[in-house]
Symmetry: C2
Subunit: 458 residues, 2 copies
């Protein structure tokens, strides 16, 4: 934990308090030193004094959030003044929370635990993201501080203490924020709507209408997978530190004291949405990175690795239903000569156009894959010999029927040879089925290309 | 949270206690119902009574841990007896902790928070793992309960209250556990050795020799990335629930009360190591899944996607140092005829053997990639025209010089054509450099194959 304060006694005080709770503390005396130490020490959190000579706390916070190496580190701003204006300025600078001197230990440690938990999750995601970047398979996600587009956010769900308050919140928010709001009228309604509408952000008062309990709602939102990643801002009655601390321990992302300045609520919502966007992007980058391992880079269709796995699943389902399925191996005839005559770019264009046409001529449930080179593969569940023959013939004709455009404006005639195998409940090895289709393909080639051959049954 | 007890009043009591702390509670009356609800409700935690008719708590725990859908859910066993024998039996069944009636709230909630935190992390990792499995790019990781091989564990680091105790722990552990132990003699020594030895597990007493503080050591271990994932078992003096609760909140994985039965410590260590192994495997599967996106499945060398990214980095470094680097495009001559004459399996074998020989004939800092088909790529940092010519010629001869073995026992003579381009500080586009090498390759082909050509400078 990094404590930043220009006054030595303040540093000592906070350090003693945090050390007595067993946190590892390092200190910095000014902004420049803080930035340098945040980079080198990679603390789990920064406690930042607002009033400092040279660079004030807001500037230091902005600088921390603007740099990729430090943007993920939570920042708590420590202030003597504690006005809404100051809090809004801090939130806009990317601060995660505020503490006013003298410190309330309960509030301090609940917030520290909460931010630590969040940071551990981010660290886990960031680590994978760095792997993806090193491998060249992930775009740069950007930092938390960067202004992200909030227009495409899901709705904000409001759980107010009364219908009158709810109407007021909604009116004030919609006047200043281009995100739809949903006002709920009971704890039960909030729980149900949360599941249907999947809000990106919740604003939950500690006491809900009809005797509902805001803390119970926070806990329920956190225990459900659908809302676990959403932002939850708890509204606590002025000064009720116990409720705030309990809420943070239950997983609330932030809290605000009521009565509040609407600008402060908006600043907190924006700050939480930014943070959520960032983690959403880390997660989707990771998912996309993993997907790339199943995709052929040139054509964008699945690769052999994925197709083998898929055929295994199709086979298992066929066993369960006593059904049949068909697989095809398809080879572009004399493809090598296209590369030789027109160059690799032309060859690549033909492969892309071919996979496009192939996809147009199969059903949605069928799977198309590129096995490598000019060799393609199709798996067709619930398809017997007659239907497979029709599909193969349709594909053969679709390729024969129209020449392929080349990058230089020319075109080339292409044909395909196809081998088809029908798998039955007796088949147990996906590779054996693929091999049968491959042998049939070989016979199509031998017999003069541009034709469909069928494999013998297993 | 799922509460399992055959006695209605017990269920009500525990439910009320957990509900008042805002946890969502569902209940089951017997083992069969518990197993079914754990699957359908996917609770964050199971509180399991030990003494039940039909199926007792141990059996239910074992059944939960043996099934993939429920193995990751933490289990707390609730018992009236609380003997070391019972705890060891529970740990062996896969339980995460024990609570004896009547409950101490502080201990209960500290443990619940701790297990919740752990589960959230597991859920995050498991979600990615499921993606990998759907894509066919991850092996099945196995469940936590499965007996994993503990022989290859890192050492266990012991931080005892005194040298005498440390010697005793080490002696007792090494008599029963085939994992090396390291005894430390002060808090500072423990902190330093943790970084150098990277233990998989720590056993830390609350009071360390020379006035050291066990809780401070726990906190320090958790704040360092190298030890964040390690198991930490805190030893607390008999009955000191406050220290235990504080330790769990600081991130200890488990605690044991002193004086302890060595069998119980061993059971706890084994349980923690199993859990760590499981998360290590989830993490490495994820890393490997991401890596697959950069690897050519047939030859195991990098693919074009990764190579492009890599050339970008090599280029940036060359700019920084005003250096040069070389890239090669390599094509197997008349590869198509190998496929046609000997079949695809033979072609694949030749491609694999070729990439093996290629790797043997380059430096460790060079990068080899398969761009697709029979087209390969090499990037060589800090290499000028003379050195590149020598390397290319070495590769050409290595292929010409020995025939490639085929799967059927035969062999085939193969030659390669190579195009080399030298990039300088003036180059800014990696694709343009690759294209120059490709044009040079084309000239090698035109000139009769089995030769090396150089591209014009940019």
């Amino acid at each position: 934990m990094l404590v930043v304060d220009d006054v030595a006694t303040n540093r000592l005080l906070l350090r003693a308090k945090l050390s007595s709770a067993y946190y590892d503390v390092v200190v910095a005396e000014n902004g420049a030193q803080a930035l340098q130490m945040a980079r080198s020490e990679q603390p789990d959190m920064v406690m930042l004094d607002v009033l400092m000579p040279d660079m004030d706390g807001f500037e230091v916070c902005e600088a921390l959030k603007a740099r990729e190496e430090t943007a993920h580190i939570p920042v708590i701003m420590v202030t003597a003044l504690d006005t809404p204006e100051e809090r809004i300025r801090g939130l806009d600078a990317g601060a995660d929370d505020f503490l006013s001197k003298p410190f309330n230990d309960l509030a301090l440690f609940a917030r520290v635990r909460n931010l630590m938990r969040m940071k551990m999750m981010f660290d886990e995601l960031r680590l994978r993201d760095m792997t993806s970047r090193e491998l060249g398979i992930a775009d740069f996600v950007g930092d938390i501080g960067a202004d992200m587009d909030l227009d495409t956010c899901g709705p904000i769900l409001l759980a107010p203490p009364s219908d009158a308050q709810g109407a007021l919140w909604a009116e004030q928010l919609s006047a200043r924020l281009a995100i739809p709001t949903i006002v709920t009228h009971s704890e039960r309604e909030a729980t149900n709507l949360a599941r249907m509408e999947l809000p990106d952000c919740f604003v939950v008062h500690q006491s809900l209408a009809e005797g509902g309990d805001g803390l119970r709602l926070v806990s329920a939102l956190r225990s459900r997978p659908e809302t676990r990643q959403s932002a939850v801002i708890l509204v606590v009655e002025n000064g009720d530190v116990h409720v705030a601390a309990k809420g943070l321990d239950l997983g609330a992302s932030d809290y605000i004291e009521s009565p509040f300045d609407i600008s402060e609520l908006i600043a907190r919502i924006r700050s939480q949405l930014r943070r959520k966007r960032y983690s959403d992007r880390l997660r989707s980058n990771l998912r996309n990175g993993l997907k790339l391992a199943a995709i052929d880079p040139l054509t964008g269709i699945y690769n052999r690795r994925y197709a083998s796995q898929h055929v295994l699943r199709v086979m298992e389902r066929a066993h369960d239903t006593d059904g049949v399925f068909a697989v095809m191996m398809i080879d572009l005839d004399k493809f090598k000569s296209i590369n030789d005559r027109f160059g690799h770019d032309a060859g690549d264009a033909v492969l892309k156009e071919f996979s496009r046409r192939l996809q147009e001529n199969i059903r949605g449930v069928d799977l198309v894959a590129r096995f490598g080179g000019e060799e393609f593969f199709v798996a067709m569940p619930d398809v017997d010999q007659t239907a497979a023959a029709a599909a193969a013939e349709r594909i053969r004709r679709a390729i024969e029927g129209g020449s392929m455009p080349l990058p230089d404006g020319g075109a080339v005639e292409v044909t395909v040879s196809i081998g088809v195998a029908i798998a039955t409940a007796a088949d147990t090895d996906p590779e054996a089925i693929i091999k049968r289709a491959d042998s049939a393909l070989y016979r199509s080639k031998e017999a003069g290309r541009n034709r469909v051959s069928f494999a013998q049954a297993a």
